[in-house]
């Protein structure tokens, strides 16, 4: 952190954050990106991004994240790898507390993204990494020739079940309704796969010793049964990472930051981009788009 006060601080180094940084830096503003781990955000754990235009053969998500970082830095944006622990966004000069000191900025871009939603069982956090997983393409290979349960009914659950059915001995898909909400590209291959569907059911308990040994599912009539398995993959959506902003920016009932297509929040000088913002479609390309739009209104605000 080279400056006492930056024009713009960006919290989160995913595609929304780094596009905002790129555009702001190219407009001559001083920009600091605060990232907790490495660039790319959720995209970084995706092995192939096939729907970001310009890469006709697809591109590795991690690599795309690094490219976005380098591109923003080519125009002078800086990155600091820290945890943000608190923010005060209500003043003219915004203050951000991090694990490595305080950052001050005249405008702030909130680009913290979202994280996988947990099933919500008390035993779940301690079993993370001992059979409970949230990313099939990341951890799937650990369950080669084993039995797994996928929980969920949307696109990510369908994609995870399909992917795992190619590696695992047996895949169950547990969904609380009787149909999937997945798009057609998944439905036909799923029908022809070995995936066994358990409809109208919810996971009520994860059985475990040292590691996961099974799950208890309950159907709508209250009937319970045990499924023996080695792994549980939760694919039940995402939750926005907005805990830090509670009491500052306005959030919707799901916790997303309320901001319209201008990316402006209720607080002057505070902008929300990417998955963390209320919006109809959460994609790499729409996050990048938000970043560009935010820059436009930041310039207007700082002028």
């Amino acid at each position: 952190m080279k400056r006492d006060i930056y024009d713009v601080a960006v919290i989160g180094g995913g595609p929304g954050g780094y596009t905002a940084a790129l555009y702001c830096a190219r407009s001559g503003l001083s920009v600091l990106v605060l990232e907790k781990m490495s660039p790319g955000g959720q995209m970084a754990t995706t092995s192939v991004v096939d729907n970001y235009p310009g890469f006709e053969e697809g591109i590795d998500g991690f690599e795309l994240g690094e490219k976005m970082q380098r591109q923003a830095e080519r125009f002078g944006a800086e990155t600091s790898f820290v945890n943000v622990t608190a923010v005060d966004l209500k003043q003219d000069i915004k203050t951000i507390e991090t694990s490595k000191g305080q950052v001050k900025a005249r405008a702030v871009v909130l680009a913290t993204g979202a994280s996988p939603r947990e099933i919500g069982l008390p035993e779940e956090p301690s079993l993370r990494g001992r059979g409970v997983a949230y990313c099939a393409t990341c951890d799937g290979m650990m369950y080669r020739d084993k039995t797994v349960v996928v929980v969920g009914g949307g696109n990510s659950a369908a994609a995870d079940a399909l992917y795992l059915s190619k590696i695992c001995k047996k895949v169950y898909l547990v969904h609380r309704r009787d149909t999937l909400r997945a798009s057609k590209v998944y439905l036909e291959p799923l029908k022809n796969s070995s995936v066994e569907f358990i409809w109208n059911s919810q996971v009520k308990e994860i059985l475990h010793e040292k590691k996961v040994t099974g799950v208890v599912v309950e159907d709508k009539k209250g009937h319970r049964k045990e499924i023996l398995c080695d792994g549980v993959f939760a694919a039940i959506g995402r939750i926005p990472d907005t805990k830090l902003f509670i009491g500052q920016t306005e959030l919707d009932s799901q916790g997303y930051i309320l901001a319209d297509e201008t990316t402006r929040t209720n607080l002057p000088g505070v902008f929300a981009v990417g998955d963390v913002r209320t919006k109809p479609l959460r994609q790499v390309v729409t996050a990048a788009s938000d970043g560009a739009v935010a820059s436009h209104f930041i310039e207007e605000y700082l002028a």
Partner: protein, 108 residues
């Protein structure tokens, strides 16, 4: 600077017989979360390499060692001290979390 990748035959000398504490990042090229962690581990090496040796172990290259230490989720960081596992952390959420983990273990 890039983090030393341990070879099978060198685990004994470079990790277990090391004078300094060693953090081994168990990972694999196909693991998305591992790739997110890798740059943080490299920065860690640059920052605290004088106090702790940082190394990485590809579990596909070192399956026996991965089995021996019961690595069933990656990335897993194991801190070795005096030839033994002192502590481990699975899929840490941030670079800061890794640093805090090392501070808790009083190696930095």
């Amino acid at each position: 600077m890039s983090v030393n990748a341990i070879e099978k035959t060198k685990f004994q000398t470079e990790v277990l017989e090391s004078e300094k504490p060693v953090v081994v990042d168990f990972w694999a090229p196909w693991c998305g979360y591992c790739r997110r962690l890798a740059p943080a581990v490299e920065r860690l090496e640059a920052e605290i390499g004088s106090k702790v040796t940082v190394a990485k172990a590809d579990i596909d290259e070192l399956p026996e060692i991965a089995r021996q230490y019961e690595i069933d989720t990656i990335p897993t960081l194991i801190l070795f001290q005096d030839g033994k596992e002192a502590d481990r952390v699975v899929n840490p959420p941030s670079q800061d979390a890794v640093e805090e983990w090392l501070k808790t273990n009083q190696v930095i």
